[in-house]
Symmetry: D2
Subunit: 295 residues, 4 copies
């Protein structure tokens, strides 16, 4: 018996009295040993969110039956309720999209190979092949999908073809997370939609400041005293998706744009790694354009 195996239940639904009691009662009746429990009640939206983690070995049934039984409980919370039951005994999978910057990729490869992030990396896709060797050295398949250059007269069409290849590779793995680890192409709206809640981007600014291109140049021009990074779910509205995590680092007048680029990498790495971890541990619930993160 695996002591460390856990089942995680997440739920979001319109708020009302008695939700906690019904879930807790359901788990208690089954002998469930709750090891983590987070609750959030949003008064402005009148919405309720919870995440509960039980020891798998405390329940007399497996994850499938838990899912079936919890479906009945959740049915009582109305048609708008959304919920998931996941099992730490079942591996999560991820696919990474990269361009040329290695720092986020290298950092994630290190965490994954050290067992620090609970995920199997199925593939890395690059629109350049610069990072292929690094990926293959970690025993992970690398797919080079070239994208058209700016001057390409048939750019739009070629981009559609390239993204279709990307989509096929990604969907072959049906991953739990599609990570844009400094992928310098804008995801088309239909992929944002298909991958909603699974496509995770790292933007190299403290959003909503400096959305779009060359955020460190923008930050330098504005003379800000802190630079940051933002991990968010990708949506059709560029750099405007639900924010999972952000952090900042102090800069001063002595920092040039290349200094900011270099120093910002430390924040990008950390913010992406934290956001991805929380996503993989089912700690992030999306509601509208915002997230509830049960850390």
């Amino acid at each position: 018996m695996d002591d460390d195996r856990r089942f995680a239940i997440t739920l979001a639904c319109p708020d009302t009295t008695g939700i906690v009691a019904r879930i807790a009662g359901f788990l208690a009746d089954a002998g469930g040993w709750i090891v983590e429990a987070g609750y959030h009640s949003d008064p402005a939206e009148n919405w309720f969110f919870t995440r509960q983690v039980v020891r798998a070995d405390s329940l007399p049934f497996g994850v499938d039956e838990l899912r079936d039984r919890f479906a009945e409980v959740a049915a009582g919370f109305g048609p708008e309720a959304t919920w998931r039951v996941t099992d730490t005994g079942v591996d999560k999978h991820a696919v990474l999209l990269v361009t040329r910057e290695p720092h986020c990729l290298h950092d994630l490869l290190g965490r994954i190979s050290a067992g620090e992030l609970p995920v199997t990396l199925d593939a890395v896709i690059g629109n350049h092949d610069d990072l292929g060797d690094l990926v293959r050295a970690h025993g992970v398949p690398f797919h080079h999908v070239p994208f058209p250059g700016r001057a390409d007269p048939r750019k739009e069409q070629a981009k559609v073809v390239a993204f279709e290849k990307v989509r096929q590779i990604v969907d072959d793995h049906a991953p739990d997370a599609i990570v844009l680890a400094r992928f310098m192409q804008i995801l088309p709206a239909h992929l944002c939609e298909e991958w909603a809640g699974r496509a995770i981007n790292i933007h190299h600014s403290f959003l909503p400041s400096f959305a779009g291109a060359r955020p460190y140049h923008q930050a330098h021009a504005r003379g800000v005293k802190l630079i940051g990074a933002t991990c968010h779910y990708a949506t059709a509205d560029l750099d405007a998706g639900p924010i999972i995590e952000q952090d900042v680092i102090r800069v001063d007048h002595g920092d040039t744009v290349p200094d900011m680029v270099r120093r910002g990498r430390d924040i990008e790495r950390l913010v992406l790694a934290r956001g991805l971890r929380w996503h993989l541990e089912d700690r992030v619930l999306v509601h509208g354009n915002k997230t509830v993160v049960f850390r």
Copy 2:
């Protein structure tokens, strides 16, 4: 009816399955609308902690009956269970102990007069009278209780007498918090015991580093790159009580001891204000020499 009135229940007890269910079921049966809920299960200590906040107007009874009824629930969690039921409709009270440094006192007076901290300040006691005018300008009684100087031959005896006066003034108000806001006298063990869980100290270092006297001098001598402050419950073991909150600020080789003293004040103010707020909102549960803080 006061929409903002809340009842807060806190409980700590040996961990077992079904505690959440029993509390949640009890509240749901009474129609209780939970607006905040925190749970923590400590696997090393096998101890369970919770804090739940319900809207007062959602229950068909008042705080006294809630207390009586919850006592029955809590009885089921064994003789080691400790719990409290508090009512935001009942004012909390505090007494402050100060010496000569005004910054923490001034900060707390500002927060209290702006309604930012949920507490009534009954009295301030100073072992010097330097801060009397500041206190009286805020309409708060100031008591000057002189303490013997270092060279006083009858120092020990005089100190006993002085602390007895302090004790009387404090106990006259039976305050929820006795705040040592840079009070430069060591509280005797019997007062630490009598006021256990209510006496809150701010120490001007990141404990356990630099306990005892002149922590900024110690920090400067050691050449640390961050200085800090620690808000903790006072215990007979000097500077070793359960920590409520800590924070730090960056310093560098250019900072002299007076610079550290000045810059450290910003952290002392913040850390004390946060720790006191959490204490007053019943967010802090003490277990052994550690705290659980439901923020």
Copy 3:
């Protein structure tokens, strides 16, 4: 002779070789004992910045002669060079503009009365009189200059009159700093210009995010994970002036707008106090829309 008295020289000019040598040579020839020296060379702008602090008692002449002599040195750095020589033996003066929020005002009053900020507060001007008692309790003159309400049909004209009164009170004191300590009126362009480099604003967001009205509401709506504050020189371009200092604090999904408002105050207080200190200590040099801050 006052050991603590210092003369501070600041200079900004087109960069070239030998500037440091000329200034250092000038000071060395006069026997000047440099206790602080900051240099910054901006490669993108090809501009040089320095701040040097000498012990007054190390020079054989006073501040006026230092100014005269340094003028000759500075003349060698071209017509675009800007410079100042200041004397810590000469008090700096400030006027504060406030509305109803007391936290920044209260914090600055505490720092000034504790001798923590090197400034004399000549007057506080409020467009409401809510904060009059607090100001007068610190022995500082308070001027209530009412501003027209939103519905006032002659609003524009009345505002011009009100700002003219504000201008007169401020200019009577010829202050080194005009601090907008949560002053909720937009300074007209002619005052921004007249007070350029002296009018210091605190904006309750991490600019350039959430400029304009109700930044905490904007931050809450966007779901950011950090909120901040920005201290900047006021310019005609609202919330876009040169940034002196910024800082942030972590928030999460549990923080309502009022929580953000309350928690943000801690950052506003600190950021304004730091920015004002640096301004008063002649540590801030403005170049274009950016600042060099010699901390």
Copy 4:
């Protein structure tokens, strides 16, 4: 001609007037274009520190002649003066010592291979061979030098032999930095002395708190609210050498020891990478048991 090549001069000497003038004059006379200049005057120690960086192409001579000429200047600052002249055109070299924890090693390998740290990695020495594959995958020689187990009866003697092997490998490369990247053996005093100012350790606590073994266990037991890491020069006095850099991260009651270990890694990585960078860029001057870091 290489526009990016720089010569860095660092100097520490008893403070007196005119030092800046003499150095600046010397550089100006040679046409030196100063691109970075840091000065620090320590009033308590009456010691002066400076670091100046000039463009190599602005001087009419090379680094050797600069060194010769500066030696004459420095001679004027007394026999206690210490100084260095370094050339960014000459590669710096490092050797790493590791045990089993990969995170600091992996992070440094990534930074070095991305050109983010200005150093060539000559060798990695492990007292276990767990990390050999990772090192060799980056094309760096890995030396496995087994150390005796705790139960080994001839432990002391075997350790002497092992450290002698380590010393030989290190000294073969005469590296500018010997990095103890989570090397879990205590460096003997004679190596600390031989490598003084070059051996850089990362300790997984915010020193001086939790020196010695198992700092995260100590931090957990004490119930601190922040954990940290410290990068310092190794000295014979364990965990007490001059501190180069420190940082912290927030933890709470929910963090177990393994959580702290995992989260602490993020701080260890950053603090070591920053400290090593500053060392390699000749930004760190040691005086007594403290450092001056010109960032």
